[in-house]
């Protein structure tokens, strides 16, 4: 059977390419019993739309970020929060450990969706037209954000956060409707924000991950091929892990060579310290009780 995999990432995105690798490996390992039809670029809809399709079985697999938790397991939305993890490795340990399993179970109970695997995506960085080295550097900047918590955190740094569709962001930064924004490096590069912003600051305020979500019925349906399904998926995500390093190095070299923007290494501790109280208050209000403590108790591992 041909499984439909939807993602909002573009066809050339390295995460989508990892899915292409998986597609080949899966067909080969199951002698063509299972294959993937990948629909990239958000053609099937945004995050919420795709989750609904996954839940009803219109699509079988969805590659997305933990942002989707806001819709299907809101008590776990803090798992993609500003400075919740000390390092990328700690985040992996959380997602692949008991907390990630509990989140997956919550989604399964409520919507019939589960997390099949967790892969690397990387950090989110801040871009602006001045070096952002400490929180105060953001004071007064009109800053594009997409969710409530991020809005509160960047407001605490002194920025003026407001929403804007991604397709308008380049023009808005160019014309000064907005002064700054935050995104993963691959997005910054593919949408050419480095051309209209002079500084890229490695705030790493979010470690984000690739969640491969599947419809729970599909996992049952796989039967004996489930082992092959999971092993080929994990191999592709291992490929992705190193591919992201290469990709980031390439993008960085290209931006530096073009001279259009410089990279800054900010004092992340100052950003973290300013964000933690807001995160704590937010978690208190919107997330599962004790989640933050449970995350803090997970040691980094890899």
């Amino acid at each position: 059977r041909t499984l439909t995999l939807g993602t909002v990432y573009g066809a050339r995105d390295v995460s989508t390419q990892a899915m292409e690798h998986w597609s080949e490996a899966l067909s080969e390992a199951t002698e063509g019993r299972w294959s993937l039809s990948i629909v990239p670029g958000g053609t099937l809809g945004g995050d919420r739309e795709m989750l609904q399709q996954l839940s009803t079985g219109e699509i079988d697999i969805n590659l997305s970020s933990p942002v989707v938790m806001q819709y299907v397991a809101p008590q776990y939305q803090c798992l993609e929060a500003e400075y919740i993890y000390d390092s990328e490795e700690q985040g992996f340990a959380v997602w692949r450990g008991d907390i990630g399993k509990a989140a997956s179970q919550a989604m399964k109970d409520a919507h019939g969706i589960e997390i099949a695997a967790v892969g690397r995506r990387g950090a989110r960085l801040v871009t602006a037209n001045k070096p952002i080295l400490k929180p105060e550097d953001l004071a007064g900047l009109k800053f594009r954000v997409t969710n409530n918590l991020r809005s509160e955190v960047f407001a605490a740094y002194g920025a003026q956060p407001a929403p804007l569709p991604l397709s308008e962001l380049y023009g808005a930064l160019r014309q000064g409707v907005f002064d700054a924004q935050e995104n993963p490096l691959s997005t910054i590069f593919s949408l050419r924000f480095h051309e209209v912003q002079s500084h890229i600051s490695e705030t790493n305020h979010i470690w984000t991950y690739n969640l491969v979500l599947t419809n729970s019925d599909l996992m049952e349906e796989l039967g004996e091929d489930r082992a092959a399904f999971e092993s080929t998926l994990n191999e592709s995500l291992e490929w992705l892990y190193t591919a992201i390093d290469e990709e980031n190095a390439r993008i960085r070299a290209e931006i530096e060579a073009s001279g259009s923007a410089v990279f800054d290494k900010p004092d992340t501790k100052a950003f973290r310290d300013a964000a933690r109280p807001i995160l704590a208050a937010y978690a208190e209000q919107s997330c599962a009780p004790g989640l933050l403590d449970a995350v803090d108790a997970v040691a980094a591992s890899n």
């Binding site: 629909v39 053609t43 809809g45 919420r48 009803t56 308008e168 023009g171 014309q175 409707v177």
Partner: protein, 432 residues
């Protein structure tokens, strides 16, 4: 083969007079049943219902009701008539002066509204009346009024370009900028034709206006003349996004018609709000359902089939673009421009990708080509509108717009051959 069959079914149902939104929904339902292979399961109805919401749950599309409302307020609040009076007095001494005034007024009005019928319904009836009382031949007047209304969806703001931006994930601000030069040149082409016709038909020329007359009319029109400038300066000067610009245009039109001209009261304002709600519901339901149709065709493999067909015909990008032009002109005959661009964009994107077309250039050319369908039978919305507001028989209308259609097609061919006419301005502004 199924998606091709379904696409033809949709066009047939629409031509047979089924509501466009319902026709798209019906064919989407059948396509969905075929896609999932369980016709009576819950997946298909849930999918269609979700598409019907999510495809219009979009911040960029908010500009659509705003520009509809702004255009309506300008028409009923006395803005449009002052605008026409001013441009008419400027070109009054020329032979066929009202013909030029007709194009120029539409050009300015196009800078405030996003559609062609808004031009025909408001400005068009004023223009037809003025030309009639000055002894212009009916056919000439109707032709230039109909053709100049095409500037509405070309010159920014433009509903059809917003729809393209949403489907192709391109920037509205960049598309608006890219449409300016083609819009100006198209207006110039129409004025050149007016020049030749004025001589051939020996049209009347008016007297020289007095300086005082020009000053008074200019004073009356100065505030509305600023509207396109406010919209463009706001977007490109770093104050607001295109959607916000549309809301500001509504506010400006409201202030102008209530406080300055005092021709708008609560009753007329409410009537325009009602009209806007009805227009918005009608148009956006069609956008929602045709979007659903587009996605289902995509999942049934239509775009890949299209790439295969096109590659089989030619590998030359320019020839392929001209091939697309033929498709757009044909589709435009049967379908209104916004639903057409909503359906065609996702289907043609893989072709654009394959041949390396610039997506801004591609979008502008497609939008302009589909706009021509406003003047052709059987669906030419502008002609139907003009028949109603100016009482000119359809048979005459179809005949008098022919030369303008030819001019527009030649002009679009030029845009295909010289993409810089579209892309140079966005480049210059660093937006592309």
């Amino acid at each position: 083969m199924l998606p091709v069959f379904l696409t033809f079914s949709a066009l047939t149902l629409i031509t047979c007079g089924l509501m466009i939104g319902v026709a798209a929904a019906l064919v989407s339902i059948i396509g969905g049943m075929a896609l999932f292979g369980d016709p009576f399961g819950a997946r298909v109805p849930m999918m269609i219902s979700r598409f019907a919401i999510d495809r219009i749950d979009n911040f960029l599309l908010l500009a659509v009701p705003f520009f509809i409302l702004a255009g309506r307020l300008m028409n009923t609040g006395g803005v449009t008539v002052r605008l026409f009076d001013f441009v008419a007095v400027l070109v009054q001494p020329l032979r066929g002066g009202l013909g030029y005034a007709n194009v120029m007024a539409s050009f300015v009005f196009a800078g405030m509204s996003g559609s062609a019928t808004a031009d025909v319904v408001g400005l068009g009836s004023i223009e037809m009346k003025a030309m009639r009382s000055n002894g212009y031949p009916e056919g000439f007047s109707a032709g230039v009024t109909a053709a100049s209304s095409l500037l509405g969806p070309v010159i920014p703001p433009s509903i059809v370009l917003i729809a393209y931006a949403v489907q192709a994930e391109q920037s509205v601000a960049t598309l608006f900028l890219a449409a300016i030069v083609p819009g100006i040149l198209m207006a110039a082409c129409f004025m050149a034709w007016v020049f030749f016709e004025s001589r051939r038909l020996k049209l009347p020329a008016g007297s020289w206006p007095s300086g005082r007359e020009v000053r008074v009319k200019a004073l009356h029109a100065i505030l509305p003349l600023l509207t396109p400038g406010i919209i463009l300066a706001g977007i490109y000067g770093g104050i607001f996004t295109p959607t916000e610009a549309a809301a500001v245009a509504v506010l400006y039109a409201l202030l102008l018609t209530t406080l300055v001209y005092r021709e708008m009261n609560w009753k007329t304002f409410l009537a325009e709000l009602k009209g806007t709600a009805l227009d918005t519901a009608t148009l956006m339901f069609i956008i929602a359902m045709t979007s659903a149709f587009g996605v289902i065709m995509l999942r049934l493999g239509l775009p890949q089939a299209m790439v295969g067909i096109v590659v089989g015909i030619s590998e030359n990008p320019t020839i392929v673009m001209f091939l697309m032009l033929v498709v757009w002109l044909l589709v435009g005959c049967f379908m209104a421009q916004t639903p057409a661009i909503i359906i065609l964009t996702p289907i043609l994107m893989p072709i654009a990708d394959r041949f390396g077309f610039d997506m801004i250039h591609f979008g502008i050319v497609m939008a302009m080509a589909l706009t021509i369908g406003l003047l052709t039978p059987p669906v030419g919305m502008v002609l139907y509108a003009l028949r109603k507001v100016a009482d000119v028989p359809l048979a005459i209308l179809f005949r008098v717009v022919m030369p303008y259609i030819a001019i527009a097609v030649l002009f679009i061919s030029l845009l295909i051959l010289v993409p810089q006419l579209v892309t140079a301005l966005p480049y210059a502004f660093g937006l592309h």
